[in-house]
């Protein structure tokens, strides 16, 4: 009696006990029909694996420390609230009106170019057609992750007298906010960015792909470049950093 297809499939997937494998291999030696079945199943299996392999997306940037930090933090929902506010802001950009004060601040920054003080010494070109940005309330810590390096693009990191973390970009780029972290989905884009951390923020981190470009832990600051004469850290987002 011929083993059925699921058994051959389990054989090909190494999901069998040794004695069962031996049985099937004995059968395979003398049975051309089953040989063809097994070959067909193997061929389908390889084809499907190849096809599914083409759905490969960007690698994860999450570290176990991210998880531990998030899991140990009380679930205050603060960032979720901010996220919801920003989401509402997006709806507002499409034409609705705004309800609350904090909300207003965020939406205004999205709608119009930053104020003069934000643009001062900024690498952002004046002709930028759609300067966009977000302002995020923090609880003493902020992490900004760029998922990819870029072919072009400059990142300027500075500190200012403000209560929010401001992130300003020269182009529209998708991002998410979660658990104290902003993840910017910048693959295939070439925007310039300016990140302004509140002066005195306890912990800050900026990472591009798997490379940390800037970190602050209390008074200890580490950066991939030295600050310029104005105290700003200006780094390239190009692949040379990977």
């Amino acid at each position: 009696m011929h083993p059925d297809r699921p058994r051959w499939r389990a054989y090909l997937d190494s999901e069998m006990e040794a004695d069962e494998i031996a049985d099937l291999e004995r059968h395979l030696k003398d049975c051309g029909v089953c040989g063809l079945v097994a070959a067909e199943l193997q061929s389908d299996k390889v084809s499907v694996a190849e096809m599914l392999g083409s759905l490969e997306g960007p690698a994860s940037v999450t570290t176990v420390e991210d998880i531990l930090q998030s899991a140990r933090r009380p679930a205050s929902g603060r960032w979720a609230l901010i996220a919801a506010m920003i989401l509402l802001g997006f709806v507002t950009v499409a034409g609705a009106t705004i309800a609350t004060g904090a909300f207003q601040t965020i939406v205004e920054r999205i709608r119009r170019p930053p104020s003069a003080d934000t643009l001062e010494k900024s690498p952002v070109p004046d002709q930028s057609p759609a300067l966009t940005g977000i302002a995020l309330e923090t609880a003493g810590t902020a992490e900004i992750i760029f998922l990819s390096s870029q072919v072009n693009g400059t990142l300027t990191i500075t500190e200012g007298d403000r209560s929010n973390v401001d992130i300003v970009a020269t182009a529209t780029v998708p991002y998410t906010v979660r658990s104290g972290r902003v993840t910017i989905v910048n693959a295939g884009t070439s925007a310039d960015y300016r990140i302004i951390f509140p002066r005195g923020l306890h912990r800050a981190l900026v990472r591009v792909a798997d490379r940390v470009l800037f970190s602050r832990d209390g008074s200890v600051v580490r950066a991939a470049v030295k600050p310029d004469s104005t105290g700003q850290y200006v780094v390239s987002l190009s692949s040379s950093f990977n």
Binding site: A10, L52, A59, L87, V93, A130, V173, Y175, V185
Partner: protein
């Protein structure tokens, strides 16, 4: 009599196994979620939340890999239901990351993107269960883990895989030969 040190030791032991488990299981879970959802960002969020829940649980489940998939599938379903929760700053320009493959220049990129789009279209013709089954298996999950995660009999996984693989191959052949 238990020493006062014991609870801490248990916590340390759990954290040590959690770290090892994270290193081993976060990448395939993230890839699975990314492939099943077609949304790497959402996949990252869901995978993170799943591991946060595992850590907060304080003990490893009987079959941790299957537990992760089961929780992640539920979270993903919830997130997809309230899709508007996704944050996206949209005014002008490109908004969707579509970086499938990087090396090989623009032509190779285009081919990869076309293929990814075709595969996504084929998966969309299949049931959610079939998609989960194929992708979990592709990510190296065992029959036992797949069975527990998807709530099917372990002895039925081979049969389901044969059917799903054949359905995928048929749909792929039909779509790749169809005029565009």
């Amino acid at each position: 009599m238990p020493s006062p040190r014991e609870p801490l030791n248990r916590q340390e032991t759990f954290e040590t196994s959690f770290r090892g488990f994270f290193a081993d299981r976060f990448p395939p879970l993230h890839r699975y979620l990314s492939r099943i959802s077609g949304d790497p960002e959402l996949a990252e969020d869901v995978a993170q939340e799943t591991f946060v829940r595992l850590y907060r649980r304080g003990v490893m489940p009987d079959d941790p890999a299957a537990w992760l998939v089961s929780v992640a599938n539920n979270l993903l379903r919830d997130e997809q239901r309230k899709k508007s929760r996704r944050l996206r700053l949209i005014s002008t320009g490109k908004s969707q990351p579509d970086d499938v493959g990087e090396a090989g220049g623009p032509e190779a990129d285009l081919i990869l993107k076309e293929r990814a789009s075709l595969v996504r279209g084929v998966l969309d013709t299949m049931s959610q269960r079939e998609q989960q089954l194929l992708i979990l298996h592709h990510e190296g999950y065992s029959y036992q883990e797949i069975a527990v995660a998807l709530g099917v009999a372990p002895t039925g996984v081979g049969t389901l895989l044969v059917r799903a693989t054949a359905a995928f191959a048929r749909a792929f052949a039909s779509r790749s030969h169809a005029p565009r």
